[in-house]
């Protein structure tokens, strides 16, 4: 009785397997057609000949070259034989000589030419010189090439045809054999030298790209590791304050700190004496932090002022050091222009330049982060003893402010390109996900300990409000139209204050953001927690994933437009891709570490930074070294082709040679790439093995 359902399910299973196989076959066949696989094409004789020739040349790379000496040996030949004048054959001797038999004839006659005492396997060419003195190359019978080769014993016997030359009779022509004899030892060809030069460029291109990418990837890897970031929860109120203060600090940083940085930069750059003075200032500042600050702070009664003073002194010192270092870099470059120090000078000079042109960004970032962290800690203190009403009121206010700024920023980014317009609806939708769940908690149920039903309801509500938020923002900003047309949204002015204009496209998201943030903040309260770490983790991961999915060749194309053809564009492209890829690889290493030491150090009262330094860093150093080596290996491989889009290195040369159909030269580049890549492959494998 029980057999029937069993059998039917089994039949069903087999049927499903059959259907799956059929579907797979169809998909595969479709792929076969799509990829234009045509087995007739590779069999066409002309194509086979072409590929054979190209392959032959590729596999005979023009690595070596040799100098040749060309010398010619002649004998006479009479057109139309006559009995009275037969040129006697030369006497055999140890010198090079040739004999032609017979010594007379007419056009199209086949004559035999013998040569003696040539170098073994020496290369030679046959010429026919008529009375007009013009050399006519004669191909020897049975050969398609102009050259022929002497035998091992230095003799040769070849047959040629007497050329038919109009209007010749009863003349003495000359049969000439030109020998090409090597002199000296073989040496590297010019192609090889050029390839080697470019190969060095390639290896360093990869090295610099890898080295530059290490620091940013390490930082990003910490932000993209879920085991470090997920537990981080910020307090909603203080977070919103810090968020609001970010742009304020940005502007303040530029206004107040940039003069300090520029002054110190000038001191470093000016002269040796002024650099010394700058150094003195920095030392004084450090002493100030080390010894004096504590004394001054003890005299100030208010906690807020003490903290402000502390932050101020530290960031001024920081800016001074950065500015001075930058100036010193340029000073160094201008001072040392000879010898090996010149390279170092160019390098530190570039560092100085980086500091110089990013000074505004640096001071803005420092100002923004200093002010916002100050705001965070002050808000935390302030919120500690607030009552419930105030808590929710403040939550609403701060939430509205933060939401408005956030969506205002995304809308501003949305003004850069049509598809960037999607950013605002996405962020608005993400913000909206908190709305309904919080409302549910507030009005319907306040479960201290949510059970699984509550959890499912909350999740459904989050999705619902998120999707509604996305669609609403998408619709009201008319994102769809600008996507279809590929146009930026129309800029309708709302009002202008001073030099700043607020556009409708930015104003609407700000209102939406204020509403979403305000309601969410009011319901959750200023003291509520916010999954800060999760947000940072997801943002970092998304950016890394997007960056990683763009091939370095495409990045190279963009950078070539920006900085021009050459290895610099290649370095930038490879570095950017390496940051994304190493960031991911590194963060996966952090995620797989032993969590025990982290727990242990947290339990001793170590702060987050200390826990990372002593529990995480020692565990990740070996895999980080291994992955960096691996990345260098990959970068060398990629840098060999980044030249195809103008990114410098051996690839640029290779592309030129291929375009000029010089396959023997291209073969040299291919050979060099193969050698370098396999050596590096082996070396990086050996080093990785040691560290994993």
């Amino acid at each position: 009785m029980n057999n029937t359902p069993m059998r039917s399910t089994q039949i069903l299973k087999r049927l499903i397997i059959l259907v799956v196989i059929a579907v797979v076959v169809v998909i595969f066949s479709y792929g076969w057609t799509v990829t234009n696989i045509n087995l007739a094409v590779p069999q066409e004789p002309q194509r086979q000949q072409n590929v054979g020739k190209s392959l032959r040349e590729l596999l005979s790379p023009n690595v070596f070259t040799q100098d040749y000496e060309v010398s010619s040996y002649t004998t006479n030949f009479r057109i139309i034989c006559s009995d009275n004048e037969i040129i006697p054959p030369a006497e055999p001797s140890t010198l090079l000589y040739i004999i032609v038999e017979p010594t007379c004839g007419v056009g199209d006659d086949t004559v035999t030419v013998r040569g003696f005492n040539f170098p073994a396997n020496g290369l030679a060419r046959m010429n026919w010189i008529a009375t007009d003195g013009e050399r006519r190359i004669r191909q020897v019978d049975g050969s398609e090439e102009n050259n022929f080769v002497a035998d091992d014993d230095g003799t040769f016997v070849v047959q040629i045809q007497v050329p038919r030359i109009r209007g010749t009779s009863d003349e003495i022509h000359t049969v000439e054999v030109q020998g090409r004899f090597p002199i000296g030892t073989p040496r590297f060809s010019d192609t090889t030298n050029l390839v080697m030069e470019k190969m060095v460029e390639t290896i360093f291109l990869a090295l610099i790209a890898t080295a530059v990418s290490i620091l940013p990837s390490v930082v990003l890897s910490f932000l993209a590791a879920h085991n470090l970031m997920r537990p981080i929860r910020g307090q909603f109120g203080s977070l919103m304050v810090s968020f609001t203060l970010l742009p304020v600090g940005w502007v303040l940083g530029i206004l107040l700190l940039q003069p300090i940085g520029a002054f110190m930069f000038g001191l470093g750059r000016e002269s040796g004496t002024s650099a010394l003075a700058g150094l003195g200032i920095v030392v004084l500042q450090v002493i100030m932090i080390w010894r004096v600050l504590a004394i001054i702070k003890a005299l100030i009664p208010f906690m807020i002022i003490r903290r402000l003073l502390n932050t101020l002194v530290i960031i001024i010192t920081l800016i001074s050091i950065i500015g001075l270092v930058g100036g010193l870099g340029l000073f160094f470059r201008d001072t040392f222009t000879e010898g090996i120090l010149r390279y170092v000078g160019v390098f530190v000079g570039s560092l100085g330049q980086i500091i110089q042109f990013s000074m505004e960004l640096i001071v803005a970032l420092i100002g923004a982060f200093a002010l916002s962290s100050l705001g965070t800690s002050l808000t935390k203190d302030l919120l500690k003893n607030t009552d419930v009403t105030f808590n929710h009121l403040l939550g609403g206010l701060l939430g509205a402010l933060g939401g408005a700024i956030l969506l205002g920023m995304t809308a501003t980014i949305g003004l850069t390109a049509a598809w960037m317009g999607l950013l605002t609806p996405i962020i608005a939708g993400t913000l909206a996900t908190t709305l309904l769940p919080q409302a549910y908690r507030w009005f319907v149920a306040k479960p201290q300990v949510p059970n699984s039903t509550d959890r499912n309801i909350l999740r459904a509500l989050a999705w619902l409000s998120g999707i509604v938020g996305f669609i609403f923002t998408f619709w009201i900003l008319n994102v769809g139209q600008s996507l279809v047309e590929g146009m930026l949204p129309a800029q309708v002015e709302v009002f202008t204050i001073g030099g700043a204009t607020l556009y409708r496209y930015v104003a609407i998201p700000m209102v939406i953001g204020a509403m979403l943030g305000g309601i969410s903040g009011a319901l959750g309260g200023a003291k509520g927690t916010f999954p800060l770490g999760g947000v940072i983790y997801n943002t970092t991961r998304t950016i890394l994933n997007i960056l990683r999915s763009i091939e370095p060749l495409i990045m190279g194309l963009v950078f070539v437009i920006w900085v021009g053809i050459g290895p610099f564009a290649g370095v930038l492209a490879l570095a950017l891709h390496s940051i994304a890829s190493l960031g991911k690889l590194y963060s996966e290493q952090i995620e797989s570490i032993d969590a025990g030491p982290i727990e242990a150090l947290q339990s001793t009262g170590a702060n987050r930074l200390q826990t990372i330094m002593y529990a995480v860093v020692p565990q990740i150093i070996p895999p980080y070294i291994a992955f960096t080596m691996y990345r260098w290996d990959i970068n060398v491989r990629m840098s060999t082709i980044i030249g195809f889009v103008g990114g410098g290195g051996v690839g640029f040369l290779l592309q030129q040679q291929i375009n000029l159909l010089r396959y023997r030269d291209a073969g040299v580049a291919v050979l060099a790439i193969a050698i370098v890549v396999s050596i590096l492959d082996y070396a990086s494998a050996a080093i990785r093995e040691r560290y994993t």
């Binding site: 300990v449 242990a600 702060n607």
Partner: protein
């Protein structure tokens, strides 16, 4: 005095690890916490120094509400509560000395830590702690080169750096052989007697609880099953704690 009031911990997956537990532990007591795996021993210990945030309830230690402490306050509190673990939780690639000094991080200027610097007096303190647990000669070895018992002693030395008033021990001998287990337990007993440290130690073996503790707390499904002297646990009580089929195994 450690006061635990109506402590409840529900994990995100809905599992109730601690269910409305209330306890009072006077200073200087050696408390053994026993119970089956999953009965909430580890969760209870981790709630006390808030490695795990409780869902409900309060934990008050010497008048400080640990459950309400801010991040900074919590670090101040954690400095004074040592913790050792079943898996020792040492950084295996670091030296023994570094592992021990890491116990002092709560007292050290975080800027020093950025440059991996410990003041000389902390180095001396770490060596003294290692001497106290009997392995001063291992200071410069890698932690991974030590045996299990030695690693747990390094763990104890690390907590000594905190100059703790209370010690949380999460099955400190579960990964060790019987002889080593006793030597580690003796160190805990020493800290309890000489330094007057309060000790909360979760254990698998009742015999160890009997030998070293003043008081046994038995947990079952996150609830208090027994609280009293180790000597009063007879066969019936034992079966109540560990289930009908359990048989007591002695460890000598």
């Amino acid at each position: 005095m450690l006061i635990i009031e109506n402590l409840t911990k529900v994990y995100d997956n809905g599992f109730v690890a601690i269910d409305n537990l209330s306890l009072e532990i006077p200073d200087g007591q050696f408390v053994a916490i026993i119970g089956l795996s999953g009965s909430g021993k580890s969760t209870l210990l981790r709630c006390i120094n808030r490695l795990i945030d409780p869902t409900k309830g309060r934990i008050i230690w010497n008048g400080l509400d640990i459950t309400a402490a801010t991040t900074d306050e919590l670090r101040q509190i954690r400095r004074r509560i040592g913790m050792i673990f079943q898996q020792f939780n040492l950084v295996k690639r670091s030296s023994v000395l570094t592992n021990v000094m890491a116990g002092r991080l709560g007292y050290i200027n975080p800027v020093y830590s950025l440059f991996n610097y410990f003041p000389p007096q902390e180095k001396a303190r770490a060596l003294a702690a290692l001497k106290r647990v009997g392995i001063p000669e291992k200071a410069n070895n890698r932690a991974s080169a030590l045996s299990g018992g030695q690693q747990q002693r390094v763990g104890i030395a690390r907590t000594l750096m905190q100059e703790p008033e209370m010690m949380l021990a999460d099955e400190p001998v579960a990964s060790l052989d019987p002889a080593t287990s006793h030597s580690v337990m003796k160190y805990l007993e020493l800290l309890n007697q000489e330094d007057k440290m309060t000790i909360l130690c979760s254990l698998h073996f009742l015999s160890l609880a009997r030998a070293y503790s003043h008081r046994v707390i038995a947990l079952k499904d996150g609830k208090l099953e027994y609280d009293g002297s180790p000597q009063n646990i007879d066969n019936d009580r034992f079966k109540m704690i560990y289930g009908e089929d359990a048989v007591e195994v002695e460890i000598h």
